[in-house]
Symmetry: C2
Subunit: 344 residues, 2 copies
Amino acid sequence: MSETVKVVVDAMGGDNAPAEPVKAAVEAATQRQNIQVILAGRKDVIEQELAKYPDYPRERISVYHASEVIETAEPPVAAIRKKKDSSIVAGMNLVRRQEADAFVSSGSTGAVLVGGQVLVGRLKGVQRPPLAPLIPTQKGVSLLIDCGANVDARPSHLVQFAQMGSIYMEHVMGIQKPRVAIVNIGAEEEKGNALVKETFPLLKACEDIHFIGSIEARDIPAGGADVIVCEAFVGNVILKLYEGLGGTMISMIKEGMMGSARSKVGALLVKPALKETLKSFDATRYGGAPLLGLRGLVVKTHGSAKSTEIRNAIFQCGQFREQRINEKIGDFLVKAVSPEEKSL
Amino acid sequence: MSETVKVVVDAMGGDNAPAEPVKAAVEAATQRQNIQVILAGRKDVIEQELAKYPDYPRERISVYHASEVIETAEPPVAAIRKKKDSSIVAGMNLVRRQEADAFVSSGSTGAVLVGGQVLVGRLKGVQRPPLAPLIPTQKGVSLLIDCGANVDARPSHLVQFAQMGSIYMEHVMGIQKPRVAIVNIGAEEEKGNALVKETFPLLKACEDIHFIGSIEARDIPAGGADVIVCEAFVGNVILKLYEGLGGTMISMIKEGMMGSARSKVGALLVKPALKETLKSFDATRYGGAPLLGLRGLVVKTHGSAKSTEIRNAIFQCGQFREQRINEKIGDFLVKAVSPEEKSL
């Protein structure tokens, strides 16, 4: 049997806390024998929720009491510093002390990013831990790396993103020889802003990744690359436009179909097929966005995440641990360190 | 009657040249008495196309012979320099010599951008002429400024984009007090990369625009702002993702509806309503993307543009001329010049 993976779930984070995180914990621990979930947050509230599941696997779900809650609107750095007994700080400290392997939260993105860096800490050699969500494409999913909060990246950061992203897509998502591309405004090598122009030859020279060149934003939805490298500002724009445009188009189409009696009947008939199609275009079924390059895994799920997404994020942590992704990233970076850096 | 507007149309540019540009010229000149179109390109080819419209208004359509064609794949700067007798260079020179008011092309974006700057030339005071396409939203359209080729912009460029964009949306699109926002990765003022952080207070201090703060990419499709300010790399990513994601979702939905007999019947019933909805989400009906801040108007239509888009771009040139947009931009910039700049 595979080894046990300990995942801390932030029971207080997100719009649907504590109900959905607790439900996800119960589902995950019930469905997989090797998963152990630690629910971090206010004990009374969590136990009240757990009481709704009389048959939950008690031996694989525990509660770790944390009295405070970090709100989404709080400035992240101050929140992490002050609220030592919040579910995010207490939960991440469990990972830092290696009492758990991973931490999953639907809470404040800022606090999760800051906490990941200052509490869990970076792997040796990692310059910046990127937030790398999966985005849906016509072919499946692509990893969009980086969508974090560290803007104004340097070329060497982007090279590490490409390396970490490749390892993730190969070993967690099972994609052989993942195609790596850099977001650009044209396909030609000489195009781009200063950052892209400096990064392009470095990626080209990288032997351990399968670099296929530039990708224009237009080709992302069709699945033009598996690992899509960009700095966080651009990544954030892509991620949020994806969500916004998808939502707007679906609501416009629904509204449009309700416009006439004829199309209302049609809408009823196409509904099941349409639902199926849209489901395939939903990345949350793969889990959340990992914050890579840390001494433990931190996964950010949507603020509006339901139990399915959180449960899948817990499974994702299992896969991450079993595949020893961090060891692979560590090995890779040691190998990739340039002579000048080694001499430092 | 309103004064005559002379528009040069590149008859050789785009995937559907010369048929669609010629058709657009005929439609525009037929529908509006004050429009005069000059078709630039190979005379024999254009005349052959024109012959398909025996009743076209000969007094308002002329041909300006240019023997060369700039291909999309050619490096723009070299092409503009070498191909002096191309439809783009010859056509833009007509605007430069004030023998025409505007130039419309579906040809190479790079060549149009370069040609606009070096041939037509910038208005006095304009630091960078931005390419500003209209993008569809749930409420109508927004102006995305800049999507051009000049990456790595400075804060003062972005401020001018906001000013020119406001004038355009107010006087060409008829939007009173257009809401101006800067693309950012969060709504708070302290968020953003170095460029956004520096630009934000400058926009806030701008008295002649209606600045509403940051806009996250997620809120663009819902119509969260009328003038969306960003540097060209980010603008390009937004524009192309818009096109790519829209196309991918529509094709997935169509495919999904063809999956079962039941949904096929439904698809037939919803088709007219769906078509109407998607038509409302198509910015090409407003025309093309203007290159603002030049001593004449240059409008870039899609490479795949059909006559409708090109015709609307011709009408757009009329509106631009009638509303004296360039005079308004000129006045505005003189007024907006800071004391230090004045002393230069």
